[in-house]
């Protein structure tokens, strides 16, 4: 590979291995003076026409305004004033494919999105070019192993330029654009395929059937499926182990069958017994006894599963440390929970509530009664459903409900409800009637685990599509590229050659279809399996005699902030119904997170909400640190650095959000350009300290990865003290009193305090409705209790308030930053030596952090092995969307765009 770069004395260093040595003077001379060409090319008729034709096309490439994931943010930055893609004539990002001639596939291509991408490509007029930006688009990237990811856009579209990097920086994208221009320069009019009638350049639209099915290879796929090749391969693999659910203290309540020892050995202690024995300083169970029992009994005795290939964690009888049982750092406490248990048992009869690992186990049939009691009658009114997730145990599927009280915060409790383990068998009453915020979260559990929520108004799959053949988060679901239950995977080198994951899948690509599938004939590329079951049924508005229309907006739409889609029912101009359709960027974060070691998850959390990677790191670090306890005690300096990074992130994120809210209101891109200028400087700081603009990967358990480089804090001080305030003032001056902003924002998308709470919204959306609930105060973490700042709340909960809350919150963040930068102590940044082997005790933790978008929670269930047994992200963007329909009803489509902008969603976090 020859990379030619202009000679740059001292500053730029080129890898000597890649450079042909030319005399630098000669090279400069050549580049400045000599234009190499041929007479034929210069004056020949054909050559001349080609030159002009190519020059014209390459200098005015119009990209499709189309972004998929993290890389799209870098693409937008490339278009912003700092990198200014207009210098290449490519600033005209078109919203419609019919006006565009280059498609920058920026980000992870998911199966759900693939049909849309193919459609967009087909609609682009010739000549058209495809740039594959980033590792994901090129070959699947870090998410390649996921079940909903296409391993490379080149599986479907012809790609012209690949830009490696994750994500490529704006400069790298410009480099790719220059490569594309060079390619265009070499084209010939006489040889161009698009003027030949016989060349078919359209790609057939793939179908979302039981999996993403490419119609070009339909027959061979059907053949291989019928042969059961995938199932045959899976039979030879080590499956992810399942652990038994923790059992209550009282032995009477145990009604789950425990596996019997096969050879009559003494019954091994259950996991909880062992934990309890340890807590009471009793002797460890005799390892010899444990080892003598059958492997089956072993699995029951020790939470560390037996893996038959002798993976590192598979030592039977290994000591397992357990973490202190508590649902989160700030919670009701053991005494309070005991009280509550007694109260519930007194109210609804014995056996209603049992304490299991610092949470209340509620029988399925009493869930609704208990939920209503907790919400309305309990002395502490649990009116806020923080988080809802599920765990697949060996003997049941457990759904966890984390509840908090808005008016009496910091009293978090957790409920556990269990149902049958079998695929599609679980039934649990829906709590949507009590907390409407459970709506999407229950649908997610249904989608991922197959638990049916009885009484849910609309139990449809939410992230995958209706008809997808599996429930992917179940432990017994293996992805097409599945290789082993935990990383490190087996070697991919054979005879000195490396092979890719594609080669281990019988289909040669990332698909898996159940052997018995026989609906091949019914596959229809026009079938909208993702959205057709989510049609809003609106109320009749009878004033005007108009027809109602259903409008599908997205997933490719410039103002849906990514690949988000809404099915709207409009009566005339008025919205009478709205259903969000999502999952177009579902990248299987949780499934991958359960195979990763704890450390490996850090860079993946960066890619959740890719605008706020530092805040995501923060949340995840806190969750695991909660389990690790004193092993991961964060030193002072690291605490300050963490807060500085998190608050800088908040400023950057809110600036982005305000800029793009204005974009949504119709002020196309100019306000956004103003707003994201300072963000670039903040990103520079991140890059300086952590090595990457967006994917910082900067936090480690117990501290941060590196100390701040020399000069960093001075520059940070300059920016914090001199620049940020000025820029916030400027935004305030231009926008807060602007009549267009007032006109478009006042009284639009109102959410009352009660609705906002009930819908589990979080962050600025919740506070704009006048609810004083900021986790930095309500459930303090890190060292936020040391800083002086105000929790900003709005009054009416309309769009304007949400804008204003963000603006004022930036001021408070700057206030915190000033204090933190001033007080930053010297000292170590990690409690001990840096190590990649992290021992996380068994236990359960939910971290709750106030990320810029709202409450970001990481639920981690560890079984004492190297990776999380269950890893769930309570993402604010996803849950805030529950409120979207409520806010939009009665407004116009133009307002919906603004309302969505004011929710400030990021699709990486919505779909995960």
């Amino acid at each position: 590979m020859a990379i030619t770069t202009e000679p740059r004395p001292e500053q730029t260093i080129i890898r000597p291995e890649w450079m042909t040595v030319i005399d630098p003077d000669l090279q400069r001379e050549l580049q400045q003076v000599v234009y190499t060409t041929t007479w034929q090319k210069l004056v020949g008729i054909g050559g001349m026409i080609d030159t002009v034709y190519n020059w014209g096309r390459r200098s005015s490439l119009w990209p499709l305004g189309f972004g998929l994931a993290c890389c799209a943010i870098e693409m937008i930055c490339t278009a912003s004033s700092r990198f200014d893609i207009a210098r290449f004539g490519a600033e005209v990002f078109r919203g419609s494919p019919r006006q565009a001639d280059v498609m920058i596939v920026s980000g992870t291509v998911t199966k759900t999105m693939m049909p849309m991408i193919a459609r967009l490509y087909d609609q682009m007029p010739e000549p058209k070019y495809v740039m594959s930006m980033g590792a994901c688009a090129s070959g699947g990237g870090p998410f390649k192993e996921g079940y909903n990811v296409v391993s490379g856009i080149d599986k479907f579209l012809p790609v012209d330029v690949y830009i490696p990097g994750c994500p490529p920086t704006p400069q790298a994208l410009l480099n790719g654009l220059i490569m594309l221009q060079k390619k265009i320069d070499g084209e010939k009019l006489s040889a161009s395929p698009w003027y030949r009638g016989e060349v078919e350049r359209d790609v057939p639209i793939p179908v979302l059937g039981p999996d993403l099915i490419d119609l070009r290879t339909l027959e061979i796929t059907a053949e291989r499926t019928a042969a059961g090749l995938v199932e045959a391969r899976e039979a030879t693999l080590v499956k992810p182990p399942k652990i038994a659910a923790p059992q209550p203290e009282a032995p009477a309540a145990v009604d789950v069958p425990t596996p019997q020892p096969a050879d009559g050995a003494p019954k091994p202690m259950s996991k909880l017994d062992m934990i309890r024995a340890k807590a009471k300083n009793l002797a460890e169970p005799n390892p010899a006894t444990t080892e003598a029992t059958s492997p089956n009994a072993d699995a029951a005795a020790v939470p560390v599963p037996v893996k038959d290939t002798g993976k590192p964690a598979a030592k039977p009888g290994k000591k397992i440390k357990t973490a202190e049982a508590r649902p989160s750092l700030v919670w009701l406490g053991n005494a309070g929970l005991k009280d509550l248990e007694g109260r519930l048992n007194a109210e609804f009869g014995e056996g209603t509530a049992t304490i299991v690992m610092a949470a209340l186990l509620i029988p399925t049939e009493k869930l609704l009664a208990v939920a209503n009691y907790l919400r309305h009658k309990n002395p502490i009114k649990y009116d806020y459903l923080t988080s809802l997730q599920s765990v697949h145990y060996e003997d049941c599927i457990e759904v966890n409900y984390h509840l908090d009280s808005i008016h009496d915060p910091g009293k978090l409790i957790e409920l556990r409800v269990r149902c049958a383990e079998g695929e599609g068998e679980g039934r649990i009453p829906s709590v949507v009637s009590v907390w409407r915020g459970a709506d999407f979260q229950e649908r997610e559990v249904y989608d991922m685990m197959g638990v049916r929520f009885v009484g849910h108004p609309e139990l449809q799959r939410i992230l995958m599509w209706e008809g997808f053949a599996y429930y992917p988060l179940r432990k017994d679901y293996l992805e097409p590229y599945y290789e082993g239950p935990t990383k490190v995977l087996d070697s991919r080198i054979e005879d000195g050659q490396h092979f890719r994951a594609e080669e281990i899948s019988p289909h040669g690509t990332n698909i898996k279809i159940p052997k018995g599938y026989n609906g091949w004939k019914t596959l229809d590329p026009g079938d909208d399996t993702k959205g057709k079951y989510l049609l809003p049924s609106g109320a009749e508005v009878s004033e005007l005699d108009t027809d109602q229309f259903i409008v599908s907006m997205g997933p490719q739409h410039p103002s849906t902030h990514g690949v988000f889609r809404m099915n709207l029912r409009v009566d005339g101009e008025m919205i009478v119904g709205l259903k969000p359709v999502m999952g177009y960027m579902h990248r299987n974060h949780e499934k991958i997170g359960e195979r990763n070691t704890f450390l490996m998850n850090f860079p993946f959390t960066d890619r959740l909400d890719y605008l706020t990677s530092m805040a995501n790191n923060f949340g995840y670090a806190l969750a695991v640190e909660q389990l690790m306890g004193d092993d991961a005690k964060v030193p002072e300096r690291a605490e300050y650095i963490r807060v500085i990074m998190a608050e800088l992130t908040r400023v950057a994120s809110h600036m982005w959000s305000i800029g793009f809210l204005l974009n949504d209101l119709g002020a196309f891109f100019t306000p956004a350009l103003y707003a994201i200028e300072e963000r670039e400087l903040i990103l520079d700081l991140f890059e300086w300290a952590s090595g990457s603009r967006m994917m910082c990967n900067y936090f480690r358990f117990g501290g941060v990865a590196f100390d701040l480089p020399k000069g960093w804090i001075e520059r940070c001080r300059d920016i914090v003290y001199d620049r940020l305030d000025r820029r916030i003032d400027e935004l305030d001056r231009y926008l807060s009193g602007n009549e267009i902003v007032l006109d478009r924002c006042k009284g639009i998308g109102v959410l009352t305090a009660e609705q906002a709470t009930n819908l589990s919204t979080a962050g600025p959306v919740l506070r704009a409705s006048g609810v004083d609930y900021d986790l930095r105060r309500a459930s303090p973490y890190s060292i936020y209790d040391r800083f002086d700042f105000k929790v900003i709340t709005g009054k009416t909960g309309d769009l304007y308030d949400r804008y204003l809350v963000r603006l004022l919150e930036m001021r408070e963040s700057v206030k915190i930053l000033k204090q933190a930068v001033r007080d930053l102590p010297e000292g170590p940044i990690l409690p001990g030596k840096k190590s990649y082997q992290i021992k996380v005790p068994a236990g359960e933790a939910l971290s709750r952090t106030e990320a810029p978008k709202g409450e970001l929670g990481f639920y981690v269930l560890s079984d004492g092995s190297g990776s999380a047994y269950r890893y769930h992200v309570r993402s604010p963007s996803f849950i805030n969307l529950t409120a979207l329909e409520q806010m939009c009803l009665g407004h116009t489509i133009a307002d919906v765009v603004g309302i969505l902008g004011s929710l400030d969603i990021v699709l990486g976090e919505v779909d995960r």
């Binding site: 580049q31 990097g165 490569m179 000195g496 009549e739 990649y836």
Partner: protein
């Protein structure tokens, strides 16, 4: 409230900004431009022009400079990371990697694969035989270089990697990955000079010296004191 005032204010803001940019630049805006010369260059007498390839903005300067890539670039921070590379020592050409597999163990998307080298008798040699990194899977997280105990795998800063083909070129083998320690010292001056890496280099050097002494002692028992390689 007069209707439509906001529209004019908005235009005025943009216009003022546009004009102020020129005022602030005061001629520097065009002159600042780095990169090569152009055919028509108004500053042809200026020898310095074209030799300022990076743009570092003072935090106090209002606004934000446009970085005219490819003629100018942003400064590359030392920790900036793109793809991993393997370092070999310039002095003797030895690859630092001992194929201990730690980088492959911490790699989150599992894109690093290597095999041990074997000696002529089949005994394992602490060197990699094959080393592959799949660039279409790598997430540039830098964990490999962070946890490498031998300072052997490092993150490169070259981001200009676009190409037209991926199946032949995006799996980097050892040949594509190797860089000299001299190159690494240039791109990562602070890390190179840091106490950790200096100690590590010293240790390796000491080991090499010992081996050399041993070899020399074995071949020429009565030779003069063997020269040690420069530390």
């Amino acid at each position: 409230m007069s209707f439509g005032k906001g529209l004019f204010i908005g235009h005025w803001v943009t216009l003022r900004r546009f004009l102020r940019t020129f005022l602030l630049g005061a001629g520097r805006t065009l002159k600042r431009r780095g990169g090569g010369h152009q055919i028509l260059d108004l500053w042809f007498g200026d020898k310095e022009r074209g030799s300022q390839p990076t743009i570092q903005q003072d935090a106090r300067t209002e606004g934000l400079f446009t970085v005219e890539y490819p003629d100018e670039r942003l400064p590359v921070y030392e920790r900036f990371r793109m793809l991993p590379v393997l370092v070999y020592d310039d002095a003797d050409g030895n690859v630092r990697c001992t194929s201990c597999n730690i980088c492959a163990k911490v790699c989150p998307p599992q894109c690093i694969w290597m095999t041990h080298a074997a000696g002529p008798t089949g005994s394992p040699v602490p060197l990699p035989e094959d080393f592959f990194i799949d660039m279409d899977v790598c997430m540039n997280c830098g964990l490999c270089s962070e946890y490498c105990p031998f300072d052997a795998i490092k993150m490169d800063q070259n981001f200009e990697l676009s190409n037209y083909e991926r199946h032949q070129t995006h799996i980097y083998s050892m040949q594509d990955l190797l860089v000299s320690s001299e190159y690494y010292a240039k791109t990562h001056p602070d890390a190179w000079a840091s106490a950790d890496e200096v100690t590590e280099r010293g240790k390796v050097q000491k080991k090499k010296d010992q081996r050399l002494q041993k070899a020399l002692a074995a071949t020429k028992p009565a030779a003069v004191a063997p020269k040690t390689a420069k530390v």
